[in-house]
């Protein structure tokens, strides 16, 4: 994939060079006056790509200043920046982030554990599949949002309900993907393992588990995303801390700047999580052709 990007960059830059040459030829009279370094100046691609977002940001700022966009709709970029800085300095943002992170991680680790165990049971044994798969398939279609009122009735409005909802959301992606991964292992490899005299346990350990690991990572990626999304609504239930609380609190006070900050945090965390999974995959799936060749 990186190859492809590199290639498009190469072609676009060569196109650019041609264009300047032609321009130079057209305005030779004017450019003769400019010094040599200026005539051969080429702006780096990364900077060029930054121009349009910066312009947009500037337009947004100006529109807010001139009163075209009222702060009730969305705050000015400068105000958002100022609030973000204040929240970082006061430690408020860090406190909320830590609480959310903890909730997400606890819920995620429980959910992934349950998902993995269930997938192993139903993936590795026919009996397990008969018992476990149909209830899992039924439960997975229930949106976890719909469970909120029920969970509040059952478990109250404490921490347990919040974690439980995250667990529900993160279990199924891991279950479904790992189950499919186990069942989709190349039967030819299983045959080869049988001719090599592997025992059932060795077969699972040396063939089935490593072979289903890529699918597990797909599930984990989904689960991580869901654990963050779940925070948005989970943290609106009787909380005093967390990113979701911050957002809902800001809504009540019409603080659009804080809402935007929350959204920013989500996207940055999404990026960080993706980077984390990529690093994990690089170690765990080092044998894959895409990693081997790099």
């Amino acid at each position: 994939m990186s190859d492809k990007i590199f290639e498009t960059r190469g072609t676009s830059s060569s196109f650019f060079v041609e264009k300047t040459v032609r321009l130079n030829a057209a305005r030779q009279g004017a450019s003769r006056l400019a010094p040599d370094w200026l005539r051969h100046w080429r702006t780096p691609e990364a900077l060029l790509r930054l121009i349009s977002p910066l312009v947009l940001l500037l337009l947004w700022e100006l529109a807010s200043r001139w009163g075209l966009i009222p702060p009730r709709v969305i705050a000015a970029p400068s105000q958002i920046g100022g609030t973000l800085w204040a929240m970082i300095v006061s430690g408020e943002l860090g406190r909320h982030l830590l609480v959310s992170l903890q909730r997400a991680l606890v819920g995620l680790s429980i959910g992934v554990t349950i998902g993995v165990i269930a997938a192993l049971i139903s993936g590795l044994s026919k009996r397990g599949e008969v018992v476990l798969d149909s209830p899992m398939q039924m439960l997975r279609t229930i949106p976890s949002l719909a469970l909120v009122p029920l969970f509040i009735l059952w478990f109250g409005i404490g921490e347990f309900t919040k974690i439980a909802l995250i667990v529900i959301g993160t279990t199924f992606p891991v279950y479904l993907n790992l189950f499919a991964g186990i069942r989709n292992i190349d039967p030819k490899l299983i045959e080869a393992a049988n001719t090599l005299g592997l025992s059932r346990r060795e077969l699972i350990w040396h063939v089935i588990l490593p072979g289903s690991l890529p699918s597990f990572f797909v599930g984990l990626r989904y689960s991580l995303g869901i654990s963050w999304l779940a925070l948005v609504f989970v943290e609106q239930i009787n909380t005093t801390a967390g990113i979701g609380y911050l957002a809902s609190d800001a809504r009540d006070f019409m603080r659009t700047d804080v809402i935007v900050i929350c959204l920013l945090i989500y996207s940055v965390l999404g990026l960080l999580i993706d980077g984390l999974i990529r690093t994990l995959e690089r170690f765990a799936l080092a044998w894959r052709p895409t990693f081997v060749r790099n």
Binding site: K188, L189, N194, T195, A286, W287, R293
Partner: protein, 270 residues
């Protein structure tokens, strides 16, 4: 009605054939894929199995490899057996040497893996992942994985079919070298008549789940396709497989043909 005996290596004496099939039947629905087959393979014998698609070759090999059962008859195979398939079937997540010793329960496994990979000329690729190996290299790892188990019976299911012509010639030499060194009985399933004659002591033609014909190839070793008698055997086998050869025309201008044949000879080492 059916019985499969797995013979322990210690019990077999040299005199007893490692593979004994008596009246073996395997059927899928009403169709008998193997129909009352009798077959003995002597210790250290190299047998090639030819046959059109659907003649039961692969089913027979799978039964011998323990991947498929039989419906009736008697089948005796040594427990120490190994199979190499058309695709290398290496575990992509294991490095070459780990693939070789997969399922091998010996204390000095790594040393054995190094020895086996050195034997097939891959001492420099010990730590490679299968994704980085070429087709020929991967097939050599698969061969090493089979031979490291010191099998009494080596089953080869069209192992050279997916390789390019040059690699195939090298693999033919390698397989003969290794066969001489380890002396397993070999059963090679192939579509390639030349390959069968170049490598085997005996060529069996399978048709409708039965042995249609078997030929003992007593051409001296270090065989090549231009050898005296080679083309006769080839023509006979092709006829059995339903391919007519241009025998009369060939004999008419025999001298000219001899010259062209020798320039495109195929060789087997050993």
């Amino acid at each position: 009605m059916s019985s499969i005996d797995l013979v322990e290596a210690s019990k077999t004496t040299d005199a007893v054939a490692p593979v004994q099939l008596r009246n073996v039947v395997r059927q899928f629905g009403q169709q008998r894929v193997i129909d009352g087959l009798d077959l003995d393979i002597a210790p250290g014998e190299f047998v090639a199995l030819l046959g059109a698609s659907g003649s039961g070759k692969t089913t027979l090999l799978r039964s011998l490899a323990g991947l498929d059962s039989i419906d009736s008859g008697q089948l005796r195979v040594p427990r120490a057996r190994a199979a190499v398939f058309q695709e290398p079937r290496l575990m992509p997540w294991k490095r070459a040497w780990k693939n070789v010793i997969l399922g091998l329960r010996v204390p000095d496994a790594k040393t054995r893996a190094v020895e086996a990979l050195t034997e097939v000329g891959l001492a420099h690729r010990l730590e490679a992942y299968p994704a980085t190996l070429s087709g020929g290299e991967a097939q050599r790892v698969a061969l090493a994985r089979g031979l490291v188990r010191e099998p009494k019976l080596l089953l080869l299911d069209e192992p050279f079919a997916a390789l390019d012509a040059l690699t195939r010639i090298r693999m033919h030499r390698l397989i003969i070298d290794l066969w001489r060194k380890h002396t397993p009985a070999v059963l090679l399933v192939t579509h390639d008549v030349d390959e069968a004659i170049l490598l085997a002591d005996r060529v069996i033609v399978l048709a409708n789940g039965k042995i249609a014909e078997q030929l003992t190839i007593d051409l001296p070793r270090a065989r090549d396709t231009g050898q005296e008698g080679f083309q006769n055997i080839r023509a006979r086998l092709l006829k059995l497989l339903g391919v007519e050869t241009l025998e009369p025309a060939a004999q008419a201008n025999g001298a000219a043909r001899q010259a062209t044949a020798s320039s495109v000879r195929r060789f087997a080492h050993g």
